[in-house]
């Protein structure tokens, strides 16, 4: 537990040192959402229909932007060796890394959700479902993303590669995340969708740390 907190605190401090990059990621989320009406047209009816999916897809893409920062810098300067040496177990390190990644690229999207919902014409009743769905689903994105980041840790400019291999793995989260929001907006019972979304996140919490640990061992011989 102490280890988890220490690593998360260290990661957050490092993220704060490079706050400009982080602000870039958050801005990407906002700008991409603003691009949507510009390309599709300002018709509120069309916009509100595609809004849940668009918000989810953009959140997914935005959370891929910072994958390169999860393991590559630590691998380059050697601190990953020390982290792995001091970790009670490598899966715990992966868990800490994902938690920190989620705090800076998952949680902010939850907080930005009201803005996205209103901008895309979902109106006020779309704010809660979107924020809740993002809250339940984005941890899975960070966990899967961390595994992809571990797989590409020694690769120079591995960010795009990590996104390439991670994106197909996140399809279930995208499908059920979008469904949870749009079913709520249609006034139907969206409980099951939220449950499945939560199940994906829990499964990712259980499996991703081990997959990430196997990935680190594979690429760092």
């Amino acid at each position: 537990m102490t280890f988890l907190r220490t690593v998360v605190e260290r990661e957050l401090r490092l993220y704060l040192r490079g706050i400009v990059d982080l602000i870039g990621v958050w801005m990407f989320f906002g700008i991409a959402i603003a691009m949507l009406p510009l390309s599709i047209g300002p018709d509120p009816e069309i916009l509100s229909r595609i809004a849940p999916g668009a918000a989810w897809a953009i959140a997914l893409l935005a959370s891929m932007l910072s994958l390169e920062r999860v393991f590559a810098p630590d691998q380059r300067d050697g601190s990953l060796d020390l982290l792995m040496l001091h970790a009670p177990s490598t899966p715990l390190l992966i868990l800490a890394k994902s938690l920190a990644h989620w705090l800076v690229t998952g949680l902010p999207f939850v907080l930005l959700a009201p803005l996205a919902a209103i901008a895309l014409g979902m109106d006020v009743q779309g704010v809660w479902p979107l924020a809740c769905a993002l809250l339940v689903g984005t941890p899975a994105l960070s966990l899967i993303g961390t595994v992809g980041s571990a797989l590409t840790a020694p690769v120079r400019r591995g960010g795009i590669l990590a996104a390439l291999i991670v994106l197909p793995q996140t399809i279930p989260v995208l499908i059920f995340g979008t469904a949870a929001v749009s079913e709520t907006l249609k006034g139907r019972d969206s409980g099951p969708y939220f449950s499945v979304l939560g199940a994906f996140t829990l499964a990712a919490v259980a499996l991703a740390p081990y997959a990430g640990s196997a990935a680190l061992r594979a690429v760092r011989n």
Binding site: V147, L151, T152, P154, V155, G158, L161, L164, I165, L167, P168, Q169, I171, P172, I175, F176, A179, F200, L207, A211, A214, A215, A218, V219, N221
Partner: protein, 275 residues
């Protein structure tokens, strides 16, 4: 080697453990025998002409029965004959990923060097079959559904399968050192194999327009036996072709490594004499 009896267990449990250990050993030994590249090449060299000939015969006969000697579909007419290429290609695309995952698992668990080679050789061939399945499906879809492409569940799943293949192939080539890329791609292949059923379930739930499965059903196939014969011939032929291509690629890859090793050794000799 016998596993030592463990304290606190009944005789049956100990016998079971010993038995399981023996079986694991037998399997590990069989795999271990194949881990020698020279022995592997000796075993597969005679297999190669047989698989190649088998593939040629099966595909030839399948094409004859499929294109000439089988009835046209009562609804789709002659266009349905594209099925004899499309369906076996799709089966092989899936089976290829299963083979890739299996080889990766063997490589990861037993550190089997040839399994790594097999996995990296399976990937491009499986990706090719996936592309064939997608292309023929698109050609078939145009006259039947009136569109080259629809986002239906099965089509989407096959596209995602292609992405998984491509991700594997990109990752394997992303590292400076070949072995690192192979190990990383192995882990990715296994993650994909675990996730694939979940993706399939999600996509199925997401949307379905495609006809339901008509070969593997509880109440027997719903398709005419006259169409089943060429279909199975083509499926067998494609599978043999797959195996044949994997063997050729593995032979080439092993030869390439041998050349690299010899070249390194040749370069190392003058340096050694200098010192």
């Amino acid at each position: 080697m016998q596993a030592a009896p463990l304290c606190g267990l009944s005789a049956t449990e100990n016998a079971f453990i010993t038995h399981a250990a023996t079986w694991t050993e037998v399997m590990a030994k069989a795999l271990h025998r194949l881990a020698n590249p020279a022995r592997f090449l000796r075993i597969v060299a005679p297999l190669l002409p047989w698989t190649a000939a088998g593939a040629a015969v099966c595909i030839g006969a399948g094409l004859w029965f499929g294109l000439v000697d089988s009835p046209p579909d009562y609804q789709q007419g002659d266009a349905a004959r594209i099925m004899y290429v499309h369906v076996p290609a799709a089966w092989n695309a899936l089976a290829g990923y299963a083979g890739l995952a299996l080889a990766s698992a063997v490589a990861l668990v037993w550190r089997h060097p040839l399994a790594l080679v097999a996995a990296r050789c399976i990937a491009p061939i499986g990706a090719c079959f996936t592309v064939i399945a997608l292309a023929t499906g698109s050609l078939w879809g145009h006259p039947m559904w009136g569109t080259w492409w629809v986002w239906d569940a099965r089509l989407t799943s096959v596209v995602i399968l292609l992405f998984l293949y491509l991700g594997y192939m990109t990752l394997i080539h992303a590292f400076d050192e070949q072995g690192t890329g192979e190990r990383a791609a192995t882990v990715l292949a296994l993650i994909g194999a675990v996730n694939l059923p979940v993706i399939k379930f999600s996509v199925d739930w997401w949307n379905t327009l495609h006809q339901p499965a008509s070969i593997l059903r509880m109440d027997g196939p719903s398709i005419d036996p006259a169409m089943l014969l060429p279909l199975f011939l083509m499926a067998g032929g494609f599978t043999l072709l797959f195996v044949c291509l994997v063997i050729i690629r593995m032979q080439t890859e092993l030869a390439r490594r041998r050349v690299m090793a010899l070249r390194r050794a040749a370069l190392a000799v003058p340096q050694a004499s200098d010192a």
